[in-house]
Amino acid sequence: MPREAAGPAGTSHLDASHCSRVDNTDEPDDRTLVARARLDPDAFALLYRRYLHRIHAFTVRRCGDRHLADDITALVFERAWKNIHRVEVGPAGLGPWLYRIAANEVSTHFRRNGRKERALERLAGAPVSLAADPADTVNLRLDLESLRAALDRIPARHHEVIALRYLAGLSPQETAEAMGTTPQVVAALLYRALGSLERVIGPEADSHER
């Protein structure tokens, strides 16, 4: 289970601010902009610029392909714009809602495009390099490939909670807000989701080792 203090939400490397926290205090908050965006596309444009990098980074991490991430990010904001009149902005701002759309779009994409697409994704490779040693990088890359492939195979709700909690870096509270549930349910769901992922990724990891 991710720890509160050291968990993904608490990490400093993530795009500086999360959700409703706005760096520039002169800028209107998410709630105000959402209310304005219902009548004014320019207000939504401000939200778009505020969240573009975060959502794009999330889709890149999840897909492992920048071009695909570009397309999915476009779908996310199109869907958000079409449904802006429906959203109820919580204390965490618009971020959780956008991340949830992104997680669902990614999930839908991979489920729709199936195995062939995933194979192509693997050829494209992971865009991240986390390890200093080249050998470690290769291993990590294989691990990330396995991880992404496994994420496509677990139940949608399990994928959603893992994506929101780890890849989007939301706190348990924010994840709960995005999923319309409580942090306790998120914790239980995350435990089961990691179990699902472990079961799926086990054979894949073994096959890589062989």
Partner: protein, 288 residues
């Protein structure tokens, strides 16, 4: 791979730095969502109900949810659930055809045309009715004749589908809007009504096989240019598609010449202000 490895890997993946999208990509994505329309479900409802007689019943049902949507906004605004032949005059002077899903701001005026049928903010808008948005609700204006009146009326031409070939000299107006160049009329609340599209007084004369069209500039408007179009049909609200006869910049003589006039046609003159804003319209039948 055990659970700890899995968590570590997930955490590392979540921490991995990602370059932000370049400006070209950001612009492309923005263009993409801007192209799509907001509140699509309401628009779909609008389109589907605008076709037939059962439209209004369906629209009324749809309006229930639309009103709920409007209540979720911080400031309540009536939302167009369905609209056919309904014009909205915004407080800033802009006039537009009502579209499903649009929220109307305070002070907007809703004008039902001869064939009007629609539901806005839970209120049925019928033919030749007039409403004003007050306190987030549609209030009946005194000058409207009621939603259930006959669809045939000699007075209003603002929303009629075509021009009137026998009209010698222009100005399709409703009584409520009949202020071609004069001061704005007042509505039932006594406040000055916005008259976003003033009516130009236009004349046409046949001379040596050519038609000379002349008109008067609207007072108090910052007209940038006039566009003269010859057309066979006109809805009375917008510049129609047709043969463009002339574009006259403000300050030049307000005269245009059609060297090849066509019998039974109309000349429509549109006055545009800064940022291509339509300020006034006028029309005249081509002289026989």
């Amino acid at each position: 791979m055990n659970r700890d490895d899995l968590e570590r890997l997930l955490t590392e993946l979540g921490r991995s730095p990602v370059e932000p999208p370049d400006e070209i990509t950001a612009t492309r994505i923005e263009r993409n969502w801007r192209r799509s329309t907001s509140v699509p479900s309401a628009r779909r409802r609008s389109r589907s109900v605008a076709a037939g007689g059962a439209a209004v019943l369906l629209a009324a049902a749809a309006s229930v949810s639309v009103v709920v949507v409007s209540r979720s906004t911080e400031r309540v605004q009536p939302v167009v659930a369905a609209a056919r032949d309904i014009t909205v005059e915004l407080p800033d002077g802009e006039s537009l055809s009502a579209q499903g899903g649009e929220a109307l701001p305070e002070g907007a005026i809703v004008l039902g045309g001869p064939g009007a049928s629609g539901v806005i903010g839970g209120v049925f808008v019928g033919p030749r009715s007039e409403y004003v948005v007050r306190d987030g609700r549609l209030e009946r204006s005194g000058s409207s004749s009621g939603p259930d009146t006959s669809a045939v009326s000699p007075d209003s031409t603002i929303n009629q589908p075509g021009p009137q070939p026998t009209t010698p000299s222009t100005t399709p107006t409703t009584p409520a809007r009949s202020t071609p160049n004069g001061p704005p009329a007042t509505n039932s609340t006594g406040r000055p009504r916005p008259t976003p599209q003033r009516r130009l007084t236009v004349n046409a004369a046949l001379q040596s096989g050519a038609t000379t069209i002349s008109w008067a500039a609207p007072t108090g408007s910052s007209v940038v240019r006039y566009v003269v179009v010859r057309t066979k049909k006109w809805n009375g609200r917008t510049l129609p598609a047709g043969r463009r006869i002339a574009v006259i910049r403000a300050g030049r003589p307000l005269v245009a010449v059609d060297p090849k006039p066509v019998r039974g046609t109309f000349y429509v003159i549109a006055a545009y202000g800064p940022r291509n804003r339509l300020l006034a319209l006028g029309s005249v039948a081509a002289p026989a």
